[in-house]
Point group: C2
Chain length 362, copies 2
C-alpha cells in the first residue's frame, strides 16, 4: 500500500485511534488539531507505506509519547518533541532512520508519528506494536520478541533530551523512563525501539492505521445517518457491544505517572444492570453484574452513545451516556510469551485468567 494522509482523513483516524486506545494513548482531539496544522503548514501529505515496502537492512524506530492521558490534555506539547528526539538518536547512532513506526496505534499516539513523519520527511508504516494502547513501554510486540530496548531516547517540551545508551531490560527501561517522564512534567516523547527493517517486519501488527481509519469512517457514516455507531464499530473489530448505559461513578487519580482508577455504569432501564471497569491509563477488566466479560489484552473501548466519540480515561465523568465495546486483541498479543507481558496478571490481577473473546482484531 502507498497512501497519503490528507486533511480530509484526520478526523476519521483520530476517532478510530481513540477507540483503539481503549481509554488511553492520549486524547486525540489535540493530536488531530496538531496534525492538521502540520499538514497545512508543510503543504505536504504524510506518506504511509506497508511494512513490506521497508528493506530488510535499514534502520527504523518506533515513536510515541510517554505519560498519563490526564497530563496530556492539561499540558500542551511544543510540537517538535518527537522530531528533535529522533534526530538526537540518529546523531547518537551516526545513522539515519528510513521510516517511522507507530509505537502504539491507540489514542493520540497514532497521530504523533504522522506529525513527526511530516516534520522529518519520513514515511510511516501502516501498523504498530500494540494494536491498541497499553500503559507501559515494554508492552509491545517488539519488546515481547526480545528486541533490545536500548538505545532509546526521551525528550521533553523544554528541549531536554535523554538517551539511554544501555538498559538491562525493557522493564528497567519502563521504570527509568517513567521516572524521568514524571520529572519532565508527566509527558515526554519516546523513541524506542530501534530495529532493522527485517526485525520490524517480523513483529509489527500490520494494517492497524488502516483499521483505525476504517473504524473512524464507520463512526462518521453512522453520524451522517443518525445511527448509534456501537454495533457497527464492534463488528469492524470482530467484537461485540458489552454494555450500554450511563456512568454512575468514577474514581481516578494520577499517580506514579499513570491515570489509575475504576468506573461504574448502570443500564438505562434497569439500574441493577451494572458494569464495572478498572483502568491504568487503559481499561483493563470489565465486570458485567460481577461476571468478568472482557480482560486485557482484549480491547475494552468506551464511546459516547450517540456520537461514537471515544472516551479516554481522562474524560470519564458522571452521567455520560456511553456504549462499552469489547474487541478481541490481535493474535500477536495472545501468545504465551505475550500474555506474560500484557495479560491480567501483568497489571496486578494474578487471580484473573485471560478469557479470550472469539476471533482476532485483524
Amino acid at each position: 500500500m502507498k497512501h497519503e494522509i490528507t486533511l480530509q482523513e484526520t478526523q476519521a483516524i483520530a476517532i478510530g485511534a481513540g477507540i483503539l486506545g481503549t481509554g488511553g494513548g492520549g486524547n486525540t482531539y489535540l493530536g488531530r488539531i496538531r496534525l492538521e496544522q502540520e499538514l497545512k503548514q508543510y503543504k505536504t501529505p504524510c506518506h504511509i507505506i506497508d511494512a513490506e515496502d521497508v528493506p530488510d537492512d535499514v534502520l527504523v524506530c518506533a515513536v510515541s509519547t510517554m505519560g498519563a492521558p490526564t497530563v496530556g490534555i492539561e499540558k500542551l506539547a511544543r510540537g517538535t518533541e518527537v522530531k528533535d528526539t529522533v534526530r538526537a538518536l540518529e546523531e547518537h547512532l551516526g545513522q539515519p532512520f528510513a521510516a517511522l513506526i507507530i509505537g502504539e496505534i491507540g489514542g493520540s499516539n497514532a497521530l504523533n508519528p504522522l506529525i513527526a513523519g511530516i516534520q522529518l520527511g519520513l514515511p510511516v508504516v501502516d501498523g504498530d506494536g500494540m494494536g491498541r494502547a497499553f500503559p507501559e513501554l515494554q508492552m509491545d510486540t517488539f519488546c515481547i520478541a526480545g528486541i533490545s530496548p536500548s538505545p532509546l531516547a526521551l525528550g521533553d517540551v523544554h528541549g531536554n533530551i535523554v538517551i539511554f545508551d544501555n538498559v538491562e531490560s525493557a522493564l528497567r527501561a519502563e521504570e527509568f523512563g517513567r521516572n524521568l517522564t514524571i520529572e519532565m512534567g508527566g509527558s515526554a516523547a519516546l523513541v524506542m525501539p530501534i530495529m532493522t527493517g527485517q526485525e520490524m517486519k517480523a513483529n509489527i501488527i500490520r494494517g492497524t492505521l488502516s483499521l483505525a481509519q476504517a473504524i473512524g469512517e464507520t463512526v462518521l457514516d453512522c453520524r451522517a445517518h443518525n445511527r448509534g455507531p456501537a454495533a457497527a464499530v464492534a463488528k469492524l473489530g470482530n467484537g461485540r457491544v458489552l454494555f450500554q448505559g450511563k456512568i454512575t461513578d468514577v474514581e481516578r487519580r494520577t499517580t506514579q505517572g499513570f491515570a489509575r482508577g475504576r468506573l461504574k455504569l448502570a443500564g438505562f432501564s434497569d439500574p441493577d444492570n451494572m458494569m464495572e471497569i478498572v483502568f491504568q491509563n487503559e481499561n483493563l477488566v470489565a465486570w458485567h453484574n460481577e461476571q468478568i466479560v472482557c480482560t486485557v489484552p482484549d480491547l475494552i473501548s468506551i464511546i459516547t452513545l450517540e456520537e461514537g466519540e471515544p472516551v479516554g480515561t481522562e474524560s470519564l465523568r458522571y452521567g455520560l451516556r456511553v456504549a462499552v465495546i469489547g474487541m478481541p486483541a490481535p493474535r500477536e498479543l495472545k501468545t504465551d510469551a505475550a500474555l506474560k507481558v500484557v495479560g491480567p496478571a501483568a497489571f496486578g490481577y494474578p487471580e484473573i485468567d485471560f478469557h479470550p473473546m472469539n476471533g482476532n482484531l485483524l
Copy 2:
C-alpha cells in the same frame, strides 16, 4: 607537578579527602580498598598532573559518584561504573578525553577518579570543582562559571548507561540526575561536565588532591606521635577547632536521594557547652551555644578525637568522641555568583547569612 600515586599514599589521601568531605562525598574506607585493589591489579600507578599540563584545546571530563553516603556504604559498586560511563560518553561525542577531573575532592569522590584513571589509562588533574564535598551537582565551580552541564552521563552497577544529550540548566540536570540515581538504587557514576582544557584551567580549584594528601599525612603523623590531630589539621586548612565533645543526639533519614538530618554534641567537662549541626549529605551550619560559628560554603568537618578519622554523616552515632573543625572555603566558592549556588540560602536557610571565616582553604 607530576606525581604517581602508589600504594603507600592511599591511606593519607583517603583520610584527607574524608576530612575535606565535611561529612559527605562518600565513605573513603571502601574507596581506599578499591583504589588499592586497582593499583595492585594493574601494576601501574595513577598519574597525577597539574592543570597547566593540560593543553587548551583537548576535551576533559569531571567524574564522580552521585547519591547518598548512607547508600554508598550499604550498596557495593561493581567497580567499572565510572570507566564504562566515560567510554559511553566518548563514543557519543566521537572524541576521546585527554584527562580526568575530580568533580569533588571530598570523600570517596576523590578516590573514584583515581581508580577510573588507572582503568582508562588517563591522567588525573590535581584539583577539583568544589574544594570540598557538596550534595548537588550544580554546586561546582564549572557549573557556577556557566559551563554547559550537557551532554552528561550516568551509569549504574548493572551497566545501565544514560546520556543526557541536552539539558536546559544545571539545576535541571541535578533534578533529572537525582531522580534517575534514586531509580538506579541510590548511587550512580556521574560524568559531568565536559570541558576544554582551557575551560577547565579557568575554573578548577587547584591543588586540592595534594591538600587532601597533606592533611592525611598530618593525621598519620599525629597518630604516630600519639597527639590529637585536630589542631594540626585545622592549621593546614587555615581554620580552627570549633568544638570538642561527644555526640549526644543524631537525627538522620535518607530521603529524596540524600542523607538529611541534625546532630547535637556536648562538651566533655561542661554538658551545657553545646554544638548543633545540620546536614544534607554534608555538614551545612554549626551553632555553638545557639550562635552560628560556621556555615556553607566554609567547611565543617568532624573527626574522631584521638585518631583523626573523618566521620561521615552516614557514620554519626551517639557517644562518639569527636572534634569539629571549621575551615574557610577556597576563594572560588565565595564570589557573589558562587554564594548564590552554595551559600546557606541554597540549602534552605535564607535567614542565615554567610559569615566567612578568615582566610582561604588554599
